[in-house]
Amino acid sequence: MQPIFNLDRIRCLTLAVSAVGIFATAASAAETRGFAISWFQPAYYAGDDDCPAGVSQEIDWKEVFAKEGKTPAEIQALFEHPLSPDFQKAALGRGPHGENVCADPASLPDSSWKTVQGKQAYGANLDGTQDGTATPNSCTHQKFTGIDGTPAVDNQLYRVMGCSKIHRGSKAKDGHDAFGIEYLNERMREGLVTYLIEITGIDDIRNSNNVQVGIYQGADPLVQDGAGGVQADSTMRIAADTRWQATVRGRIKDGVLTTDPVDFNLRGEAVWLPEFHFKRAQLRLEFQPDGSLKGHLSGYQDWASIYWGMAKTGFLLEKFSAGNCPAMYNAFQRMADGDPDAKTGQCTTISSAYGVEAVPAFLIHPAETKGNKTAQAAEPANTVAAR
């Protein structure tokens, strides 16, 4: 005897809930599914040939101090208290005129930053070219080949940061285990920020040629499950602030969701990046057998924001994270490949990719969110919950 119910049908029936939690009886033909992002970190590959000169190392401070004209005795005195304000001032004030090189990175031309030399990276073809030739929206740059063989992948953020000591993960973990990129993910899973995805208009979970994808900041912290992961099937509220909401057209083909390019913002975290400002970003997410999603978010980001996000820690970045403010800044400037400035031609954004995993969740739209296309004014408060 076969089951008398169908789980997918039940999910469809539970799509619309009223403010008091009473189920609506009408079910539309198309399905809506909600997700909470359970994994979100820069997608930095760890290819064998990426960093032939090795990864970044802590600056040789003795050499720096010597170039600054300090005597061996003065250098010795500084090293007796390597975390002292005097040491930090001497370390950061290595600009030509004593400028703080993290606050004024352009003051010191430094091209020593090691960038990725490998040929493969995660990401998508964001500029539409096959060879990285400049376009009205992009600057000339080198292309990668995707890890899955996708040609002409753009991920210049990886090219800049992929040989940073704290951003370089192990090959065994596919590059995911570097401290510098785990940080954001861990803070997110601890409940600092929540990102939600909603796919509406699904006719067939394997193939739907016209779906709408919502990308939202969540108002509730992620819930951890007993195995240390993010709990699936939780109910999550979408944050009411429309600055952190976006919808975009997409499609599902053979179980893979892809979206059109879209600009959107998400709140980040204080150390890595307080705010994400994605431009012409695309999702490519594959439905997994357990109902979750796995894939990448690729798009351009304001590279100066990324630099300042790291550089604000100043001495900590250079002393403990093997960073080098002016060298990194200059590398960003060289490698930036998106949105050239109309006057200078300097690209202002950089292509990037983020690894994304998302577990099923029920999403509740805010009661009155102006500009939110999914929670329409005609609907009662907290109208749409989707899984």
């Binding site: 076969q2 089951p3 029936l13 499950d225 007993g226 099937d233």
Partner: protein, 562 residues
């Protein structure tokens, strides 16, 4: 009541019912005669202990400690508590608890409110104040007035301790601690007396009646009004008892009583030790077991007490309460960010009744897989009061435990193969078909359609009834006379502390009939039991010392204090 029954006629009942002052119970028949059963001595449960202390001294008195586990007998801890003692280690716990509670009661923060009188001197004995406090508290703790001798002893203890330390409150603390660790408090000691309506028969004395009544309806010791009713003889008659029972049934505390009964009946004491493989069931967390229990108890009390619903509907109801964690397991959205939210599943949803809740499905499963056998056994034993033999010692479980065997992808496949072993077939035949109807719920209680990629066949059978899935099982249990008869048996056993005795069989059958006539309303059943004479009847076992000493039908009786 026996007078009414002797006079019999319908006209009398009608006339009687016309009298507003008479309760319904006072008008109806009292059912067949019951022999009663021997008295019991039951150890307080940890919950009862804590509730009593909170009732007397307030909920801000901290109780730190853990008691010896209770023993389940005949399906109930309430019966097992009649057959447990206090181990030396447990006595240390009781002693420590008693001292801790006593110290808090008389500390500077609480003494003015809880002691109720002030000594003439804080450094010297004050017999008047000590007597007042110890008499009052002792009456509540012992659930009867202390005898003059007991009071004198407690006051002397307080005096001696006061003199030794020079602190009146230390004296009170010492004497109170003794009351708190006395067997008179820790055990519910039932005392019989001669039954004036039944020559040669016995019944519980008034204070034992009050205790049995209070622990049954509220799961705590009698309050002042109930003790007063015992003192003034109100509990000697059905009418008098009805007044107290109706008062207690109208109280919010009835829910505590109903929760305690179902906690016992459904075996929720074992939920605390529930373990699941987090790799298989990552939604299982330390808090889940508690929330699962709370969900079912909320469902039950809402249906039975708040809505005065039909007990049978507990197997088919679509109404329940959800926490955010449980909602994620049931895969439904929830508005509440914490706490509880009422929820009603739509028609057609397989979540129907308490057997589709995590508290049942997860509890009666293995750590890493569901178990049709455990679930079927639980339905038989817990909900239908039917005995299932324990498996023989030499059973080969390898087939049922191997959930990755591609030849047996579903539980039904594995159990079918397992049942080919002759030693297993007999029992599995009566329990597996019940549990297999719940196979659409995994070992945690989450819905699933497939197991190892194979569709799940959720057909089931209970005796001659064949059905599909949880909905079919719920309806079958709803319509099962065994389920309602089981409830009556269990609730009587819970209230009385013993399995129905041979001489009580007709009385139990009568209760079952009346339960049906009353629309299977559990509070009505509780009322009928609580006000009856039968509930308090006592038999003295032949050749017992009590019987030998009782002479011509005279049972030992606690002297009633006027």
């Amino acid at each position: 009541m026996r007078v009414y029954r002797a006079l019999g006629g319908v006209w009398l009942r009608l006339a009687c019912c016309g009298l507003v002052i008479l309760s319904l119970a006072g008008c109806g028949d009292s059912g067949p005669a019951s022999s009663g059963a021997p008295t019991t001595v039951r150890r307080l449960t940890q919950e009862q202990y804590a509730t009593i202390v909170a009732d007397i001294f307030g909920s801000d008195i901290t109780i730190k400690g853990r008691f010896d586990p209770d023993v389940r007998e005949e399906g109930l801890l309430a019966i097992g508590t009649s057959h447990v003692s206090i181990t030396p280690a447990s006595l240390e716990q009781y002693d420590s608890l008693a001292r801790s509670i006593a110290a808090q009661v008389v500390d500077e923060k609480h003494r003015d409110l809880l002691v109720g009188c002030r000594p003439a001197s804080k450094a010297a004995p004050d017999d008047v104040c000590a007597r007042q406090f110890l008499s009052e508290v002792g009456r509540q703790l012992y659930r009867r007035p202390l005898t003059d001798s007991e009071i004198a002893t407690q006051v002397k203890v307080a005096d001696d301790a006061t003199r030794a330390i020079g602190d009146f409150y230390y004296g009170l603390e010492t004497s109170l601690a003794i009351l708190l660790e006395s067997p008179r408090f820790l055990f519910r000691e039932e005392i019989a007396e001669s039954d004036p309506d039944n020559s040669g028969g016995f019944r519980l004395n008034a204070y034992s009646r009050a205790s049995r009544l209070s622990f049954f309806l509220w799961n705590t010791a009698p309050d002042d009004a109930l003790l007063a009713a015992a003192e003034n003889g109100d509990l000697d008659s059905e009418r008098g008892r009805a007044r107290q029972v109706d008062r207690m049934l109208a109280s919010p505390r009835l829910k505590a009583g109903v929760r305690a009964f179902f906690t016992d009946m459904l075996g929720f004491d074992t939920l605390g030790g529930l373990a699941k493989d987090p790799q298989i069931y990552p939604k299982f967390t330390a808090t889940l077991a508690g929330e699962a229990q709370e969900q079912t108890l909320r469902t039950i009390t809402d249906h039975l007490v708040t809505r005065k619903g039909d007990y049978r509907d507990l197997f088919t109801t679509r109404r329940t309460f959800l926490s955010p964690l449980l909602a994620s397991i049931y895969q439904v959205p929830i508005q509440a960010r914490k706490g509880w939210e009422a929820h009603e599943y739509p028609d057609g949803d397989p979540h129907t009744g308490i057997v589709t809740e995590v508290s049942f499905l997860a509890l009666h499963s293995h750590p890493g897989r569901s178990s049709s056998t455990l679930r079927g056994k639980a339905v038989r034993e817990i909900l239908l009061c039917q005995a299932v033999p324990t498996p023989p010692a030499n059973v080969n479980f390898s087939i049922v435990q191997d959930t990755k065997n591609t030849n047996y992808r579903t539980a039904r496949d594995r159990l079918t193969a397992h049942r080919t072993q002759p030693t297993c077939a007999g029992c599995h035949k009566i329990i597996d078909p019940i549990g297999l109807s719940l196979e659409n719920f995994d070992g945690l209680g989450a819905l699933r359609q497939q197991e190892n990629g194979a569709p799940i066949d959720d057909s089931g059978q209970l005796d001659a009834m064949q059905f599909s899935g949880a909905v079919g099982l719920g309806k079958t249990l709803h319509d099962s006379p065994a389920a309602t008869a089981c409830l009556v048996n269990r609730i009587y056993g819970y209230a009385s502390g013993h399995l129905p005795a041979k001489g009580e069989v007709e009385w139990i059958k009568y209760l079952q009939d009346r339960f049906a006539a009353d629309g299977y309303r559990v509070p009505d059943l509780m009322r009928r039991i609580a006000i009856s004479d039968a509930f308090y009847k006592i038999t003295i076992p032949p050749n017992s010392p009590t019987q030998a000493n009782s002479g011509a039908g005279k049972a030992p009786s606690m002297e009633r204090k006027s």
